[in-house]
């Protein structure tokens, strides 16, 4: 069952979020995160740079796009090159030469999704390294220790991750274990002044379990909360209800980080539901498959239809790719073996996500977020009423109608 919060090692966690504006209809908020490596405007999309690199683009290019926070993965970096080396290199910031903020996850998700033979016990997650075959135990303490060495501005608790399609007692077990692991992470955290430890709300798709998790975890004075266990194989209908339940019970004065969410429609809806921070590999991954994100969806530029299309990916986009190159050139380059093609698209897709979030934020500050949502859905689906049912329902639940 749920353990008591270990008060002894807790200090009052800093308030790292300042609210700048709130939508009077929905739960959307515009704010600022005050982090050790600078201020971050919210809502924010955080690109994922798994192995200390944002795929083919330099940190200078990423900075030029306006990115002020991105992700690194503890699981990958913990194995290669390892925390000791990164510590010698002045942390992850020094190692990859990124001057702005970093968020590292705990390694828990990769553990379950990437490693076929991982075993979860109360101790932690036991697994075999795919690189050298050595057996390792990733415990809450070990995860925090690695993240302390990485020096990221926001670190995540190790949670007991269970796929959203799993039902039964395992979900409850994982939820309660995540609370216990949160307490162990808090106790093990050596640098609360420099690194912000976020809790991760679990409970799967069970409203009662999720509510219990929310009640318990919000008793712990952490600087921020993540909503986890979603963006897996669950239906969108269940997905949004769990997000809405979570935001309704999370404190207003702390950031809400919805993990693994990245499709444009999902971002806009979940901002309406009250989320502030998002991450997803989708935009950068899809770029490397030749797909460019646009307000109407995406363009698969490898297709013949773009062979003689001499316009940019998006005439409204201000990114370097759209300023300099045509769809036709990118099409030709994608059919060559020059990796530059992938980098052009990575730049554009990150720009798309960041520009979207920036537009969302401005609309909240200017008190016209509901109108922005209607316009967004209109562009994406041809007509606001053609938006998927789950999104219509989710938006309606917070007072935004699309008709």
């Amino acid at each position: 069952m749920a353990g008591a919060a270990t008060q002894a090692s807790l200090e009052s966690a800093p308030r790292i979020m300042r609210l700048v504006a709130e939508c009077s209809r929905s739960r959307a908020r515009a704010g600022e995160l005050w982090l050790p490596h600078g201020t971050v405007a919210t809502p924010v999309f955080m690109p994922v740079g798994t192995q200390a690199t944002m795929k083919g683009i330099t940190t200078e290019q990423l900075d030029a796009l306006g990115c002020r926070i991105c992700l690194g993965n503890t699981y990958h970096l913990g194995l290669r090159p390892g925390p000791e080396l990164i510590q010698k290199a002045n942390g992850l910031h020094g190692f990859m030469n990124w001057p702005h903020n970093l968020l590292t996850d705990s390694g828990g998700f990769q553990m379950v999704s990437l490693v076929s033979l991982s075993e979860v016990t109360e101790e932690g997650v036991r697994f075999r390294s795919p690189y050298d075959g050595n057996e390792t135990l990733l415990s809450p303490e070990k995860s925090v220790q690695i993240q302390n060495a990485l020096g990221s501005d926001i670190i995540m608790q190790l949670d007991d991750v269970v796929s959203s399609t799993v039902t039964g007692p395992r979900v409850e077990e994982a939820m309660y274990r995540s609370i216990r692991w949160l307490d162990r992470c808090i106790a093990a955290h050596q640098r609360p002044d420099k690194q912000n430890l976020f809790a991760i709300i679990q409970g799967g798709l069970d409203a009662d379990l999720r509510a219990t998790c929310l009640e318990e975890m919000t008793k712990r004075d952490v600087p921020g909360f993540a909503i986890g266990g979603l963006s897996g194989g669950e239906s969108k209908s269940q997905f949004w209800r769990m997000v809405a339940l979570s935001t309704s019970r999370l404190p207003k004065d702390k950031p809400r980080y919805l993990m693994g969410v990245g499709y444009a429609t999902d971002l806009v809806v979940c901002v309406a539901l009250g989320c502030d921070m998002f991450d997803c590999v989708f935009p950068t991954r899809t770029a490397r498959f030749g797909s460019a994100l646009v307000p109407t969806g995406n363009l698969q530029l490898r297709k013949k239809v773009f062979e003689k299309d001499f316009g940019p990916i998006d005439p409204e986009c201000t990114c370097p790719t759209c300023q300099k190159h045509s769809r036709a050139f990118l099409h030709a380059l994608l059919h060559s073996d020059n990796t530059a093609a992938l980098h052009h698209l990575t730049v554009h897709n990150i720009a798309y996500q960041l520009q979207l979030m920036s537009a969302v934020r401005t609309s909240i500050v200017e008190k016209r977020f509901p109108g922005f949502v209607r316009d967004f859905m209109g562009a994406m689906y041809g007509d606001p009423t053609l938006c998927p049912t789950w999104a219509t329902d989710a938006l309606a639940s917070v007072g935004i109608t699309l008709g």
């Binding site: 192995q51 200390a52 690199t53 944002m54 795929k55 083919g56 683009i57 330099t58 940190t59 200078e60 290019q61 030029a64 990958h76 290669r80 090159p81 080396l85 010698k88 290199a89 190692f95 990859m96 030469n97 062979e307 003689k308 001499f310 370097p320 790719t321 300099k324 190159h325 045509s326 036709a328 050139f329 030709a332 380059l333 059919h335 060559s336 073996d337 020059n338 990796t339 530059a340 093609a341 992938l342 980098h343 052009h344 730049v347």
Partner: protein, 370 residues
């Protein structure tokens, strides 16, 4: 265009090519090199990362082998390949083949030459070739020619004669078609020499030579322009150019550099004995292999004192990590360093010629060649 030689010493030519480009106001220094591209883009690099590099040559090399398949698109585009690829300010030279990928022999006929693209073989008669050049509108283009004799080892006199005859016929036909087209008259046809005397006033560009030691040898034989595919090959095998070309360093530097060079050559010998995979056999002593374990915790830049983006921002340890984890950024950063290092080498060649110090530079390079 006008070739203006400042001095000629022991066969080496130093000078400028003036009145270049469509507007006639570009200049290139010689000896010099061209920016190597694949499908109209520097390998791995976007406009942003290309412009991080200091000393990028005024002229880029395009290859017909990578562009011929886009003939129709470029014809419809009308505005020329420079604008199409996003390099409207650059001078452009279009070579027939890609110097990195040798093409199979046996495909040249009296009427056509073939190039190999990603999509397969593209056969070109003179008229098709000139139609493509009309769509590309480069500043210079290599004339259609039979270049197979340079590939084969034992070439009969008969085959050489045939190559010369064919190439002259191709050139005559190309020139005739150029006369009929206003667009084509804006481009300069580069003839291919297959033996014979080279006239003093003509520009000499050599294909297929890019290694530092070979570059110097060719300069001594009066060659003016080179391709820059060597830094690309070095990048592809996960290596960084580290050879020294500063023939007049301060005394302390010399000592350190020499020690460094000695060590690296020693290691290189050992590695060459151990590794047998094709790619590694080609590693020269002008470079270091960042995949080697010894770079795992090396927090120095690739080359101390190098002012390229990679050396100013990253360490050998980081590049090593990127290579081990197969990350795309490795190619980007290595390409930026290798191009800058190579362009710096050419700058020093010109400086050496200016101050009559080529012998010192040659000695320095040869000390480092294995």
């Amino acid at each position: 265009m006008k070739l203006s030689l400042t001095k000629v010493v022991n066969g080496c030519r130093l000078g400028k090519i003036k009145n270049l480009g469509k507007t006639g106001d570009h200049t290139m220094d010689i000896p010099g090199c061209l920016l190597y591209t694949k499908t109209g883009s520097a390998p791995h690099l976007t406009h942003h990362t290309l412009h991080n590099i200091h000393g990028v040559p005024a002229m880029a090399q395009l290859t017909l082998s990578s562009l011929a398949e886009h003939h129709e698109v470029l014809t419809e585009y009308k505005e020329g390949v420079g604008k199409f690829i996003g390099m409207p300010e650059s001078l452009l030279y279009c070579s027939l083949h890609d110097p990195v990928s040798p093409c199979p022999a046996g495909y040249v006929t009296n009427k056509s030459v073939s190039v190999w693209s990603v999509a397969g073989r593209v056969e070109m008669t003179v008229s098709k070739f000139m139609a493509i050049q009309k769509a590309l509108q480069p500043d210079w283009f290599q004339c259609l020619s039979d270049g197979e004799v340079s590939c084969k080892e034992a070439t009969s006199i008969k085959r050489v004669r045939k190559s010369v005859d064919r190439s002259l016929l191709f050139l005559d036909n190309c020139l005739r078609l150029q006369e009929e087209s206003e667009v084509l008259q804006k481009s300069v046809i580069i003839g291919v020499i297959e033996g014979g005397d080279v006239m003093e006033e003509r520009l000499r560009l050599i294909s297929g030579v890019s290694r530092p030691d070979e570059v110097l040898e060719c300069i001594e034989r009066g060659v003016d322009l080179f391709e820059s595919f060597f830094p690309y090959q070095v990048t592809e095998r996960g290596c960084a150019l580290t050879f020294s070309f500063d023939y007049q360093p301060n005394p302390e530097e010399t000592l350190l550099q020499q020690n460094g060079t000695q060590e690296e050559i020693k290691c290189m010998d050992q590695i060459k004995k151990i590794e047998t995979t094709g790619c590694n056999q080609e590693i020269t002593s002008f470079e270091i292999n960042l995949k080697e374990k010894k770079y795992q915790e090396d927090f120095n830049p690739l080359v101390r004192g190098c002012s390229c983006y990679c050396c100013k921002n990253h360490t050998r340890a980081y590049i090593h990590h990127l290579l081990v984890t197969n990350e795309l950024l490795a190619g980007v950063l290595l390409m930026m360093h290798n191009f800058e290092h190579y362009f710096g080498f050419f700058h020093y060649i010109r400086e050496a010629l200016k101050s009559d110090k080529l012998a010192q530079l040659k000695e320095l390079i040869h000390r480092q060649a294995s």
